[in-house]
């Protein structure tokens, strides 16, 4: 069973996930992918973590225009409703 996707739980999973993927520096809601040195390969791995945790499938198309962590959190929360 996927976990309940509250804003808090999604935020936690995404921040932990990006940290685990080796993002540069501390990961916060307003960190940009550029600051974190997060690229398209990291986003695919992040999408796999999110799918595993919340059952939300993200495609490349969904994330290609996102630039910061908060936007991913909002998208996952919205999709899980």
């Amino acid at each position: 069973m996927p976990a309940q996707a509250t804003t808090e739980s999604v935020e936690q999973v995404i921040i932990d996930g990006l940290t685990e993927l080796g993002a540069e520096g501390e990961v916060a809601r307003d960190s940009t992918f550029e600051q974190l040195d997060v690229d398209s390969l990291d986003l695919v791995e992040l999408a796999q973590i999110i799918e595993d945790e919340f059952g939300v499938e993200l495609q490349g198309e969904d994330v290609k225009d996102l630039t910061n962590v908060g936007q991913v959190i909002d998208l996952v929360v919205a999709r899980s409703q």
Binding site: L21, G22, A23, E24, D37, L41, V44, E45, Q48, E51
Partner: protein, 402 residues
């Protein structure tokens, strides 16, 4: 004859430790890094040398390559590259590539399905990953690629780099080999074909030898155009005097028993260097500890060197670190240069019992001072060969001096 290519930096990660000094000093002291039938880089921790992200994005064989290349580059060019980045190439051999990553992702595929397979899987496992990562990390914009010829890959990579420099395509090349294949499938497969030692002992050229011991690691050399290196005032560690390669075209795994084509590669490497067998001071053998290799290599040395085969000291690095497959040729080129620089033949560790058919001087017991023959260049340096032979019948031989 003036050598066209000099070696200005070297690096190694081997089961004897991180660094060229650990390799040479411990091997020449007669140490052996094999435990429980494997020679692993047990103390190697990738995040001691690179960020967690870089470590995640590269397989273990690439970790070894990055660290060995870092040591070699730091030694050659402490103030950064002296050439245009477009004039510096990168050629790295591997026998198998990122096998551990492949096996792990295969498990993920089986257990969790295709959507869970990492997007990093291919860039981790591809055989050119080490060359790509070393070029990327160090900003090398010349020709870069991987070389695959099983256990000859490291020597082929160095040979290809020499030819690139001779052809004027590059001023310098980071060249070497890297391997990390101590993973389930390879361990099982080498055992199934009877190639690895059931007793877990690497004793090349000994009558009791019963197969090789798997090792892992990397060796890297900075090769430079000799004239350009001289012009910038570099003090080379050694020279590559000659290189040659040939193929048995005989069998998938077994060497051609007479060593005919291996002998041809040895003779061609010597003639490429403009030398005679009488000029040789040392041979770093392929010496795997398999019954077949050590016999056919002995035959090849006799065929190529004639009477001098009985005079020249011959030792095998694999007696100390096992068989590093695609990294072996590069690590052994590094070991050969160090042996020549120190004027010492390190021993074939563990050699005790003579095989009546293998009647050459395999440097038993302890390291021994090399007797200087003069290499025909009149430069007072010592000269040696480094042999590499791979499954598939690939033979590559380097003629080195220091």
């Amino acid at each position: 004859m003036t050598p066209a290519v000099v070696i200005t930096g070297m690096g190694a990660v081997t089961p004897l430790g991180v660094g060229v000094d650990a390799l040479y000093e411990r091997w020449s002291a007669g140490e052996c890094a094999i435990t429980e039938g494997l020679a692993q880089c047990s103390d190697f921790e990738p995040t001691d040398h690179m960020s967690r992200k870089d470590a995640r994005r590269t397989d273990r064989f690439t970790h070894f390559a990055l660290v060995a290349a870092g040591e070699a580059l730091g030694g050659a060019w402490p103030d950064g590259p002296p050439y245009e980045p477009e004039r510096i190439g990168c050629v790295i051999g591997t026998g198998i590539g990122g096998l551990g990553s492949l096996e792990h992702q295969q498990d993920v595929l089986r257990e969790k399905g295709p959507r869970a397979v990492s997007p990093l899987a291919v860039p981790l496992l591809m055989g050119n990953a080490a060359a790509a990562s070393v070029a990327m990390r160090n900003g090398l914009h010349g020709s870069s690629f991987g070389v695959m010829s099983a256990c000859a890959a490291g020597a082929h990579a160095i040979g290809a780099a020499v030819r690139m420099i001779e052809a004027g395509e590059a001023d310098a090349v980071v060249a070497g080999g890297a391997e990390s294949a101590i993973a389930g499938v390879a361990v099982a497969a080498f055992a199934a074909m009877g190639a690895t030692s059931p007793t877990g002992i690497s004793r090349p050229f000994d009558a009791r030898r019963d197969g090789f011991v798997m090792g892992e690691g990397a060796g890297m050399l900075i090769l430079e155009d000799a004239e350009r290196a001289a012009a910038r005032g570099a003090e080379p560690l050694g020279e590559i005097l000659g290189y040659a390669a040939s193929s048995d075209a005989h069998h998938l795994t077994a060497p051609e028993p007479s060593g005919r084509d291996a002998a041809r590669a040895i003779a061609l490497a010597l003639s490429n260097a403009g030398l005679e067998p009488g000029d040789l001071d040392y041979v770093n053998a392929h010496g795997t500890s398999t019954p077949l290799n050590d016999r056919s290599e002995t035959e090849a040395l006799k065929a190529a060197l004639g009477e001098d085969a009985h005079r020249v000291p011959i030792s095998s690095t694999k007696s100390a670190i096992g068989h590093l497959l695609g990294a072996a040729g590069a690590v052994e080129a590094v070991a050969t240069i160090e042996s020549l620089r120190h004027g010492v033949a390190p021993p074939t560790v563990g050699w005790e019992e003579r095989d009546p058919e293998l009647d050459l001087d395999y440097v038993p017991g302890e390291a021994r001072p090399l007797e200087h023959r003069g290499n025909g260049n009149g430069n007072g340096r010592l000269t040696g060969l480094s042999n590499s032979f791979g499954f598939g019948g690939h033979n590559a031989v380097l003629c080195l001096s220091a």
